[in-house]
Amino acid sequence: MRKTQAAVIGAGPAGLAAAIEIARAGGSVTVIDENAKPGGQLFKQIHKFFGSRDHRAGVRGIHIGEQLLAETRELNVEILLDSPVYALFADRTVGYIHDGKEGSLKAEKIIIAAGAAENILAFPGSTLPGVMGAGAAQTMINVHRVLPGKKILMIGSGNVGLIVSYQLMQAGADVAALIEAAPRIGGYGVHAAKIRRAGVPIYLSHTVKGVLGTDQVEAVEIVELDSRWQPLAGSEKILAVDTLCLAVGLTPLTELAWLAGCEFAFVPGLGGHVPKHDLNMETTVPGVFIAGDISGVEEASTAMEEGRLAGTACAEALGLLDGPKAGELKAVIRQRLDALRTGPFGEGRRKAKESLIGLSGEGRS
């Protein structure tokens, strides 16, 4: 059986950042990911990130991904790809499949950074080809350079819906409209302004009534909602589009944390059920840490900071960093996390995170 000091599950922004911190402290670390390429969802994010210079703001997601991979190479971080993890055993053995064969990795500490998956929305016709996650469409255009459709309707005005609408236009698609069930736009005004300037109508207080088509999407019927979220009879409109993208939030991918026996809390502001964790990102199962969207859906920049925090705490627990040094490093990361969790959007997430950490006890500082 293979052995390592730390196993990191997931090679996205959180997992890679965690692995880099452990390797930098001199630890042996193995990252395991089910995908053929590392980087998680960073390589489809061709827009510039927000935040301060410390958070690499103004740098596009794809370039942040390249920087992280370059750091893992310099530090000789081992990355096992094409290897879905199917089990976490009580002795911290990680079971995975590679090339059709079982493999196992015995680790002293485990960091789960499995990410999140897009939510679905059910309505008549929601299973027809041409209805897809906004993230799926984004992967197709920005990673695989293929348009999933020519004329698109986007549901959801959060940052994903706004940014992917703009990126679909950059890739040459026609975005017919964006609809939002709430009476106000969910994401940043700057992103909404960009697609409005490009001539895309945004229908607030509107939802999808159904998709029309036999073998694929041919049109979508939308309807206005009243102040009690009920459809207004007679307000239906039919939009001739071939693709409907859903940008209606994400849910943390928590299966492995359930398997590990972690205690959970239900925090709607973080995407649903999330493992309880302390200020070191350690769950209620000693030696099992989490980082990134699995600990509450936020942004890639927060995921990287959480990864650094979990990695540093893990290195401390392994005895690679002494208490004062680790404390110093963690204080800087926590400050950066606090800075990311400010403003009208960040504030809610900060409070949700604090309530989650409160539920889990103070933890070590």
Binding site: M132, A136, M140, Q216
Partner: protein, 105 residues
């Protein structure tokens, strides 16, 4: 449709070097791209039909989780086309229901 020119990503200069058969028809694809991308590029969106009602399904999540996009590939049913890379000479078939294993050639 392929995105050959892009304001940020630049030109896509990859060669369509893989020749695959989709329901018997030749499709030119790029080695290593997901099968689903190669099909969407030529306008194929219906990847399978469901076992009971025969309703069409296609790409949905694009990250290998929902299994809506499965097809029969080189005789193996239920292959997730959004995460399975194209190889030259692949034989891809629209899957009916749960599909069935084909004889080894």
């Amino acid at each position: 449709m392929r995105v050959l020119k892009h304001p940020i990503l630049g030109d896509d200069e990859r060669e369509r070097d893989a020749h695959i058969l989709v329901d018997g028809k030749p499709v030119a694809a790029v080695t290593g791209e997901p099968i689903a991308a190669a099909l969407l590029a030529v306008g194929i969106r219906k990847f399978r039909v469901t076992p009971r009602f025969g309703s069409p399904r296609g790409l949905f999540c694009g990250i290998g989780r929902c299994t809506d996009c499965v097809m029969t590939v080189d005789g193996q049913p239920n292959v997730r086309t959004c995460v399975t890379p194209v190889k030259d000479g692949m034989v891809v078939t629209t899957q009916a229901g749960l599909g069935k294993w084909e004889e080894e050639p």
